[in-house]
């Protein structure tokens, strides 16, 4: 195919235009990207404002039950068991937490139930980081606080950069996690083996999505479309 004639005569001038355009485009793209990064940073900082009056509860120790999908287990041996399957980035899990989180927290703190949190990570890399941090918090007996704080600031969008190492450490700082061991654990991803084990156990328990709740091993099927505390509490009592 015959190419259209190249601009040979004024090649000096044409080259100048070309480099000028390349320079301008680079400048536009770079400043646009910087503008976006800075905007996101300040937006993330704003979303932390909700944690300013966050109250940290007493520490509660938990164990990781490798035989039960590496679940974070509280009050092992209590009469009633609740298995909760959640992904830190799942918006419906956040709705579930806002409705029933307080109730479940009380059950754990009053040792009224054996509660097992299965922290999943099927929504991408940031779920993996956030789940790792949740296991780190559990090591320091602060899973409940961390988990609560994490859902309070949960970003609307998945994998948009919010659950970064930096921000997860920051969430921890609001939840009473300031130790170097927590920071190291989050930074190094020390709990990734547990995160992986939890994720891989989904198939074994036939968990298709999140949030999924089992009362004493029996799948909870809610009647209401949304989450209503009364319904959850009644289901727990009946179990």
């Amino acid at each position: 195919m015959a190419k259209q004639a190249k601009a040979t005569k004024a090649s000096g001038g044409d080259n100048f235009t070309r480099w000028l355009v390349i320079g301008m485009v680079t400048l536009v793209v770079a400043s646009g990207a910087i503008f976006s990064v800075v905007g996101e940073k300040s937006k993330a900082n704003e979303s932390f404002a909700i944690l300013n009056d966050f109250k940290v509860g007493p520490t509660v120790t938990s164990t990781v039950d490798d035989a039960n999908g590496a679940g974070i287990t509280f009050n092992n041996g209590a009469a009633k068991t609740i298995d909760i399957w959640e992904d830190p980035q799942c918006p419906v899990c956040n709705t579930f937490e806002q409705a029933n989180g307080e109730f479940i927290d009380d059950l754990v703190r009053a040792k009224k139930a054996n509660v097992v949190y299965h922290v999943l990570s099927f929504l991408g890399n940031e779920s993996v980081s956030a789940s790792n941090a949740a296991y780190c918090a559990a090591d320091e007996a602060r899973y409940l606080d961390f988990h609560k704080a994490m859902y309070l600031v949960q970003p609307v969008l998945e994998n948009s950069g919010f659950y970064s190492t930096e921000n997860l450490i920051k969430i921890g700082s609001y939840a009473g996690l300031t130790s170097q061991s927590f920071i190291d654990c989050v930074t190094k991803g020390s709990k990734l083996d547990k995160v992986k084990a939890a994720y891989e156990s989904m198939a074994k328990y036939n968990v298709q999505g999140t949030p999924t709740v089992f009362f004493n091993g029996k799948l909870w099927e809610r009647k209401n479309n949304g989450f209503i505390l009364e319904e959850f509490a009644a289901a727990f009592e009946a179990s």
Partner: protein, 165 residues
């Protein structure tokens, strides 16, 4: 070259510039001011490491806008068309990649993006095909512009016209 093509070439060039440039400009403009959405959309392809994916999500809309403007006004058309075609090929490859890996996402081409509910698998798959065909068409526009960058209504002084006279 047929005389017929020669007669219509400046108009085809203009049409291609407007098609490729217009789509790029609109796509970029819809995403540029929603950086977290764009970053999240790129991350959903699970091709790049998270940090790089986010950086691409932030930068890509601005590149699309810049290329779109260059193509529409007709400045350094050939260069802009080459880059535009290259990113279309990258988009096609990315969609084929998610399709092949069985990932269900909204391409996030014009904003939005992210994972799609498994119940909408059929819609997502037919969307993949449409997106590939659309980007293929745009890549063809870009290729045409590489060979015939000079047409109607462009800022660039078509030097070949002077040569022909």
């Amino acid at each position: 070259m047929s005389t017929l093509h020669k007669k219509y070439q400046p108009f085809i060039t203009l049409l291609c510039r407007i098609l490729l440039g217009g789509v790029l400009l609109v796509a970029g403009g819809l995403k540029a001011f929603k950086p977290s959405e764009s970053a999240s959309a790129v991350a959903a392809y699970k091709i790049l490491p998270t940090n790089l994916a986010h950086l691409m999500g932030y930068a890509l809309p601005w590149l699309e806008i810049a290329l779109g403007i260059l193509l529409i006004i007709g400045l350094t058309t050939r260069l802009a068309a080459v880059v535009g075609t290259a990113i279309m090929i990258v988009f096609i490859a990315a969609i084929i990649s998610v399709w092949a890996r069985g990932i269900l996402i909204d391409c996030g081409c014009f904003g939005g993006g992210g994972e799609v509910d498994p119940s909408k698998a059929a819609e997502a798959h037919s969307a993949y095909l449409k997106e590939i065909l659309r980007d293929l068409g745009l890549a063809l526009c870009g290729t045409y512009l590489y060979f015939f960058p000079y047409g109607r209504l462009s800022i660039e002084k078509p030097l070949h016209n002077i040569e022909e006279q």
